[in-house]
Symmetry: none
Subunit: 211 residues, 4 copies
DNA sequence: ACTGTCGGGACCGCCCGTTGTT
DNA sequence: AACAACGGGCGGTCCCGACAGT
């Protein structure tokens, strides 16, 4: 009975190897400029083997996308689970997601690659747009909740949706710059300052009049 | 000698046609996925003609980059030239740059394409990084000047540099989202809100109370 | 020992499933354009299973050929067994073979596929040429017998051989057209007319006049 | 001005070389089993060059088809032009078309290849079915004319159409056998006998009663 | 200034067949 | 008896660029 697993085990291993190799390769040269041959070379298997695991290069990319989303989901969901006040949750999300982007850069590059492909390829777009919107909704809900509980300043629903997009913009914009000019700044500190500025602007006014 | 003019004129015209065609094509499918053949077809000339004007596909892209930067430079420089207070200048820049990105999307897509290529291709990076940093420096200087003149709250030099990057992040992040989900929000309003939040955070404290 | 039967039975069943699936697939796309993978998919088994039953794609085709020939042999042999006069036997053969070609077209297409492969592939040619010639010989013998018995007009041996080939030509030519333009004619009626014409030409002169 | 033709001349030459090489290759191994690489090798140019002249392998085949039809059309049309009696015209057609099929076999094989592809590939079918039907119509018209002028026995229109198909069947069936078993018979003589039989069957009854 | 022809190479995907495991 | 994993190689197509010619 344990032998039953030999095939599946080996297969999963190979699949993972392909996924990893592809993530690296895509990070290095981009999706379009990466050949299946190179992925195979990096993963150490033939193209015949590759096409046994994935029906197409695009399917591989979609699998990579899914994996990446799963990675991103964890810190956000766990921050929500704390049930803390809105500003604290937002800070926890930023803090939790940082490691994903602070690593050598492979994950960061993969993020950009996904975004680019989503813009061009309808299949990727469909797969990426849904979670993207879902995250925006969750951020917006969080901001609205913060307004309701008094930890953030009062905003109506459409405004909350816009601020969620502003938060997302800051995050993605920082990533973009990090990729272009990694040594050009202490991006961790920039992120700190940026989100600080935003949250300060969103924070509830201390009390009645001027501070 | 009049002949020379005619020739040069015709040549420039063709060159422009190529540039325009390439911008469209790159916006549609991206740099890597766009063939020189397609650019030629759109521009209405043969490949031989193309290679008479540009030594390579990459050189064409570099020319496109330069053209794009010139387009961007105008509103920023003209905002600086007003000599107004820092917050006003910043707002003027945002306002002035908006039309570049509000058009059907060709220029926006081109912006992203440049950024992507700059990340991967050293030649493009070299050409893009310098102006990128220059803009950041100008923003930082503006913020520092605002602090000095009292229109913005006091910040030291490194902090000004970081805030410049935050502004850039917001701008680029908004673009990225606009490309992914054009109908998903009123991006003009989101930008308004976002920069409002940021500038409010950067603004000089009203008066009395120390922070 | 009963176990052996079960195994063998199951094996034969699978073999038949492969044969049927292959016949369909070859009829649809032709031998060269049909992948082993597709045959396996249609037969509902893996490639490993396939290569357990057949050493190669070609061997499968040869098996299919044999099966097809067996199908064809029945009506011809049974017509011969009647011992009727030559014209009656020939008509019985035509009538008996018709259902093979009147079906949806799978068998017809398979016939063509065999012929084509026989032209190109020496192994198939060897397997197909022998029965082909044998049938020609039997037809020729029948014609000669008809001449001898007076039911057909007098022909020498080489002429009988040629007329046998003419009969075969008509049959195969009708098939070819049926495949190309199935709705273009009532092919049953065309066959009727064609063989009628031929047999009339071969028939013994009514009586008196020398030829 | 004569220089204007250098490009076109060279191009036509290459195109012809490709066409010839492809005809040979298809005759040898069939359309499906012939790679573009091999055609290029035979024609002495690279694949890049090939795809400059033809957009696809299928387009090349279609061009070959057209060329082949033009070849076939000549003897038939010229036989019609004689305005002779129906039996004479039919014989002239058979005689005129013979050289096409008596050559080494390349043209014969090409004929079969076209027929096969027409069965499977809708584009080829469309291109082949029209001329096929046109020839049938012309044969039928000839038979009807023969009946009207008394050189052939009386037949109604549908019967003439069927007899046209019978003639076509004999011709194609002879070809098929010639390809399978070139040395198996004197196919020229077989054709002579076959068409003789058919035309004799179609011929007008000498007069009143038995001959 | 611009055209058309062509080369060499890479692209993704599929091919047939083998192997090791159950 | 059957399966999943995999190899090595070829399929058609398209790539960027070169170059002779006008």
């Amino acid at each position: 009975m344990p032998d039953t697993h030999v095939h599946a085990q080996r297969s999963d291993q190979t699949r993972t190897r392909i996924l990893d190799a592809a993530a690296e390769a895509f990070a290095d040269h981009g999706y379009a400029a990466t050949g299946v041959d190179e992925i195979c070379r990096r993963a150490g298997l033939s193209k015949g083997g590759f096409y046994h695991h994935f029906p197409s290069k695009q399917a591989l990319f979609l699998a990579l996308l899914e994996q990446w989303l799963a990675l991103l989901d964890r810190p956000i969901t766990s921050a929500e689970a704390t049930g803390a006040a809105a500003p604290q949750q937002l800070r926890a999300m930023v803090r939790g997601a940082r490691p994903i982007f602070t690593q050598p850069g492979e994950q960061t590059a993969m993020f950009l690659e996904i975004w680019i492909q989503a813009i061009r390829d309808p299949a990727v777009r469909a797969a990426a747009l849904a979670p993207y919107r879902q995250y925006l909704d969750r951020f917006a809900a969080l901001i609205a909740a913060g307004a309701a509980e008094g930890s953030l300043r009062p905003v109506d629903t459409p405004a909350a949706a816009r601020y969620a997009r502003v938060l997302m913009a800051l995050a993605t914009g920082l990533l973009l710059q990090d990729l272009l000019d990694p040594g050009g700044a202490d991006w961790g500190q920039v992120a700190e300052d940026g989100f600080g500025l935003l949250l300060k602007g969103l924070a509830a006014e201390p009390a009645g009049g001027a501070e």
